[in-house]
């Protein structure tokens, strides 16, 4: 039995500026279950940060409903904020304070025991550098410090905006393992990131936002399956037989196209039928690979942000979706 930790329904926000109003959130919906690691994806300017800031009470929405841990926001935010740890857009810390001072002051501000400070440093791997000034930290270390500040509350809901920003590969892996550990311990994590391969590995569910609206949501596997092409890549022992093989497969009722040094076959129920049909004509398969969609291609497809040779994309050139899919 799961319960909702975060619910957003029809969230709206329009920024008014000299250039005219800009709709950042246009009826956005989101739902995060307890104990999940939930990926929150969207291109630049799609409304991710606006959503997170609205949740945290930094921005006032123009409409819609939000709940965290069952409490309605923003009214109940002061009550639930002690259970929500968040970093939004790489918070900057005072450069001349040590990392320990930084977290110690936050612990005081949050009425938390100072012992939490060492616990958080240990968790993000900064224990031995805690007494150094923040200005001596690399970007990745500052990011770790930001994550440590969010963890200080030992929250039930952890919201991380680009936590892997500036981390080296080892740091990214550590971050991934840390999130898995936190999630296993019952913490719900909402993770906004552009490293889609990481999201695919870490997250149980995803929400994809484009132009202020949800364009996809659900378990990662389901989102991928919904956008899978069902194609199979076929590599033959001899590439000169590709044309003949395509004819054989089309005669067998399959749609096959030559794609460089291999065939792409669609409408395949059982991949074994391909090798059987080709072997009957003494054409032998060297490689038979079902083509799965990855999160990056799904993301690019859904948000319409795939690069096009010779074109320069504006940050607002995303896909307009009329209703949640």
């Amino acid at each position: 039995m799961t319960s909702s930790v975060l619910e957003i329904k029809g969230l709206k926000k329009t920024y008014r500026s000299r250039g005219g109003p800009r709709r950042a959130l246009d009826g956005f919906d989101m739902h995060v279950e307890a104990g999940q690691v939930h990926g929150f994806l969207g291109p630049n300017g799609s409304g991710k940060t606006t959503t997170l800031r609205t949740l945290l009470g930094l921005i006032k929405s123009d409409g819609g409903e939000m709940r965290i841990l069952g409490s309605e926001l923003p009214e109940a935010l002061p009550k639930v904020v002690s259970q929500v740890g968040a970093i939004v857009e790489s918070p900057q810390f005072f450069a001349n304070f040590t990392a320990r001072d930084t977290l110690s002051l936050l612990a005081d501000a949050g009425d938390l025991p100072q012992s939490r400070v060492d616990w958080a440093f240990e968790l993000v791997g900064l224990r031995d550098r805690a007494n150094e000034r923040v200005k001596t930290y690399s970007l990745g270390m500052k990011q770790r410090l930001a994550v440590a500040s969010a963890l200080l509350k030992q929250p039930r809901l952890l919201i991380l905006d680009e936590p892997a920003n500036g981390l080296d590969p080892g740091g990214i892996r550590e971050m991934r393992e840390m999130m898995a550990t936190l999630s296993a311990g019952g913490m719900t994590v909402v993770l906004s990131s552009h490293i889609l391969s990481e999201i695919q590995v870490i997250c149980d569910q995803v929400t994809i936002i484009s132009l202020g609206r949800r364009v996809a949501y659900g378990p990662v596997s389901e989102v991928l399956a919904a956008h899978s092409t069902g194609q199979v890549k076929v590599v033959l022992e001899s590439a000169v037989d590709l044309g003949l093989a395509a004819s054989v497969l089309m005669n067998a009722g399959l749609a096959a196209t030559v794609n460089g040094d291999h065939l792409l076959v669609s409408g395949v129920d059982k991949p074994a039928s391909i090798s059987r049909a080709l072997a009957a004509q003494q054409l032998y398969v060297a490689e038979l690979t079902p083509q799965h969609a990855d999160l990056e291609s799904v993301f690019l497809e859904l948000t319409g942000t795939a690069p096009v040779p010779g074109q320069h994309r504006s940050v607002d050139d995303s896909v307009r979706v009329e209703s949640g899919q």
Partner: protein, 327 residues
Amino acid sequence: MSLVKAERRRFFKRRMTVWMLVIGLAILGAIGAGFVATHSKHTPEAVAAGEAKAKAAYAKEVREFEDKWKKECEATSKDPAACQGPPAEYFTAEHYMKPEFDFKLFYGEILIIWAAIMAMIAFVLGATYIGAEWSSGAMMNLLTWRPKRISVLGTKLGVLLGSMAAIGTATLLLWTGMLWGIAKVAGHTNGMTGSAWGSFGLAGLRGVAMIMAFAALGFGLASLGRHTALALGVAIGVVIVGQIGLSIVLAMADVPFFERYLIPVHMDAWLKKSVELEGGGYTCGPSGCIPEAVSELTYKTSGLIGLAVVVAVTALAFWSIKRRDVA
């Protein structure tokens, strides 16, 4: 209380706080050293030495007069008997001695030095204390811990005012102690009765209040602009355009009592309880020149104006943080 503790720790941990206080104390110390260097106690030995110098100077002047100017004077003057050389009463011992530092006379007059320096420091500390938080994103981070914006800004302002009251009082005591020491070394403390101390104490308290007002002003302006630069920009603008420029224009336009529009005059009135402004030219006679018109500026008027400005700016800052998005 936890946020108060955190903010108090942060305020005194800031390098800006430490450096501004060190610089302020160094300036006040240098001024004290200047007083020591330019004043001395009038001991019998010092008076005797001054008298000797005066006598020698008088003798030198008389000699010079008789050698160079007497004949010329007698030849050209209608009253040759008047050619007597420099009068002896011009050569008193006081002219050849450093003045005494009269604690009672000087304290109230120079209180504005301490108050103005500390007020400037308070303005900068108030502005940077909140301005740095806004511009660095630390304020946004704090609001994710404490989502009650008014309460957070109010706590910060309270901590700033409390800290500046403590700093103002401590530096007032140091300033008073330093001047007392200077008077003991290079002057006197005559006439310091209980009522004199009471009057100085009240003036000092008004000085502390002024320091707190400047801190609140810097804090409010930087909070409105969400950056230290706004407060410092306004301060520079007010000093250059609103004070130097305005005083030149008003003086050229012969506006009577134009000093009423100048902040330092209000600061002076606030500390001294009142200042007399002179206007409309002077009438000169045998006993000297007297102004044709006089206007009094009292500490009540100056205090009310200052309070209105501070309340308006801080109220706007609170309104702004409540209404505006934090982005």
